[in-house]
């Protein structure tokens, strides 16, 4: 590479780096600054420096613990559901299936549905306690229909979000499965491995990395699930479905409490960064190869 090429490279990379830098640093600095202020949009001009008070307030707020719990339950459940089901479906689709490409299309479709649509369709057409399809199925089987959003709101949200993310997990695991060397599987067969031990000792280790990637990427997105809660429960009943993202939104744009919403924002950034740290390391290692 010549000096000319190198200089041109720097010139062309410049705008992207500069824009992203501004986009990341300016708001983040403002969030940090606001988080140390007593600042409510309803009382403009009354801002004053309060140090870490907002953090203390946010972290000791019972709503924070509730929303942290909800966030963890939501993220954890969706991860388990999508990865277990995703692995099974990927294994199934990796078999000889007539019309596999059509099945594939059906399986990945939910990923392309905008979150507001999937939330409303599930809430109304499927989970409605009287007219929803699930209610009809329960009644037909002689069971009492569940009023999902009254009695099990968090479960309902988990189901919706899991349905949206199942295609992602399936698609990535399927891609990984298909890159598994056929010869490796045949070698295992020659070594006398049955289908089960072949899965355990050949397939599963091969899937370890893609599963890690799925966990990390889904976690990043699931930590900030918002639209599904916004259009179905609005965080309720009570705090039953309020996650951290929704709590911050509520404090900022409903209660106009900029200071403590900013403190909450920083908490979210820190949590996401812990996850991101591991993801960046995995991707970085891959970049070497």
């Amino acid at each position: 590479m010549t000096a000319e090429t190198r200089a041109l490279g720097r010139l062309l990379l410049g705008p992207a780096v500069a824009l992203l830098f501004v986009w990341m640093i300016v708001p983040l600095a403002m969030t940090i600054y606001f988080s140390t202020l007593h600042y409510n949009l309803l009382n403009p001009g009354m801002e004053q420096f309060v140090g870490l008070e907002n953090y203390i307030y946010f972290l000791t707020d019972p709503a924070f613990l509730a929303s942290l719990y909800n966030t963890l339950v939501l993220v954890g459940s969706v991860l388990v559901l999508t990865i277990v089901l995703g692995t099974l479906i990927a294994l199934l689709l990796d078999q000889v299936v007539v019309g596999r490409s059509i099945v594939r299309l059906m399986v990945i479709a939910p990923f392309f549905v905008m979150p507001t649509v999937s939330a409303l369709v599930w809430k109304n057409l499927l989970m409605h306690p009287v007219s929803g399809l699930f209610a009809w199925i329960a009644t037909s089987l002689g069971l009492t229909p569940i009023d999902w959003f009254a009695n099990a709101p968090l479960v309902a949200i988990i189901l919706i979000v899991a349905w949206q993310w199942l295609p992602f997990a399936t698609l990535i695991l399927l891609t990984a499965l298909q890159s598994l060397d056929e010869e490796q599987r045949e070698a295992a067969e020659m070594d006398g491995a049955g289908p089960f031990s072949s899965f355990l000792y050949v397939t599963l280790p091969h899937l370890a990395r893609p599963i890690t990637v799925v966990i990390l990427i889904e976690t990043i997105f699931l930590l900030t699930v918002f639209a599904e809660i916004f259009v179905t429960t609005g965080g309720g009943p009570g705090l039953a479905t309020t996650n951290i993202a929704f709590l911050i939104y509520a404090q900022a744009l409903i209660q106009y409490d900029v200071g403590s919403a900013s403190a909450g924002g920083m908490v979210a950034v820190v949590i996401a960064n812990i996850v991101a740290f591991f993801l960046v390391r995995i991707v970085g290692r891959n970049l070497e190869a």
Binding site: G9, L12, A16, V17, M24, V26, P27, L28, I89, L92, Q95, V96, V97, V98, G99, V103, R104, L105, M106, V107, A109, P110, F111, F112, V113, M114, P115, T116, V117, L120, V121, N124, L125, L126, S131, W136, T139, F168, I172, T175, A176, R209, V213, I220, T224, F226, A227, F230, A245, L253, V258, A261, G264, G265, A272, V275, V280, I282, V283, N286
Partner: protein, 276 residues
């Protein structure tokens, strides 16, 4: 793939796969069916599956409401605009990182990735306030800007992984053939990268079309894209299921088709090349 599989096994796996596929697809199918029902039938118990009075009236109603078209137009502008601008910034950047890498290139890439990791709620307050100050709330320009910057890391990454697959030799051959950098980009790199550029474009249109954090928080009526418009059906008085279904079907249909075309690139785009 030369291994033999017994017909019985093919039957079982095919049946199971179709069953699972159908189950996952069902909510979408159910919505599409509901969009052809009358409001009454959409609510009815027991539900009618296929034998109902098929009608297009919901689509007509949705189309007649001029605001639907307005929101659809907003979606097109926001998704298309943010993607195109991101591409214009990202193509030179990706060229630079793929073909003129420096010692810092890897760190730059990972840093870009980490900006995507930042949760949007973390910067909701300042962005909201900045938008309010500069009059960008509920404007198309504001949404284009925020989605463009939000997706820029993904665009750069995807293009980078595609460019990276183009052998450097070929660009050097063009240089030896007397091509300047500009002509090298036009005659050699771009034609070779067309598939990659196209799928990057596609995936980002999809992501921007479905984005529902910034659009819900930064727009309400004037600039609201379809995500926000559909959300308005969540209010109790907006519970027209058939109409909701029709509007939803229209909102997701184009993107579903695009998504089906780009499904293979999806993996690469969403895992930042960590899974191929």
């Amino acid at each position: 793939m030369a291994r033999r599989v017994s017909p019985a096994r093919i039957c079982v796996s095919t049946a199971a796969a179709w069953l699972v596929g159908f189950a996952i697809f069902f909510p979408i199918l159910w919505m599409v069916l509901a969009s052809f029902k009358t409001e009454l039938e959409a609510f009815s118990t027991p539900p009618s599956f296929l034998f109902f009075h098929w009608t297009l009236e919901n689509y007509a109603t949705v189309q007649q409401r001029s605001d639907y078209l307005q929101h659809a137009f907003n979606s097109v502008v926001v998704a298309g605009g943010s993607t195109l601008i991101a591409m214009l910034i990202a193509i030179p950047a990706a060229w630079s990182m793929a073909f003129a890498p420096s010692k810092r290139t890897k760190d730059t890439l990972l840093w870009m990735l980490s900006t995507k990791m930042m949760p949007p709620v973390g910067v909701l307050v300042p962005i909201y306030l900045l938008y309010r100050t500069f009059g960008l709330l509920d404007t198309l320009g504001g949404l284009v800007l925020v989605l463009c910057l939000g997706n820029l890391p993904i665009v750069v990454w995807m293009l980078f992984t595609y460019f990276k697959e183009i052998p450097k030799d070929i660009l050097e051959a063009a240089r030896m053939d007397g091509a300047t950098v500009g002509r090298e980009l036009i005659y050699v790199l771009t034609p070779m990268a067309v598939p990659g550029i196209a799928s990057t474009l596609l995936l980002n249109v999809i992501l921007a079309w479905n984005e529902a954090f910034w659009t819900l928080n930064l727009s309400s009526s004037e600039a609201a894209p379809l995500t926000v418009f559909i959300a308005s059906y969540s209010s109790p008085e907006g519970l027209f299921w058939a109409r909701l279904s029709a509007a939803s079907t229209l909102a997701i249909a184009p993107i579903l088709v695009l998504g089906w075309f780009s499904q293979r690139q999806l993996v690469r785009g969403l895992t930042f090349g960590a899974v191929k």
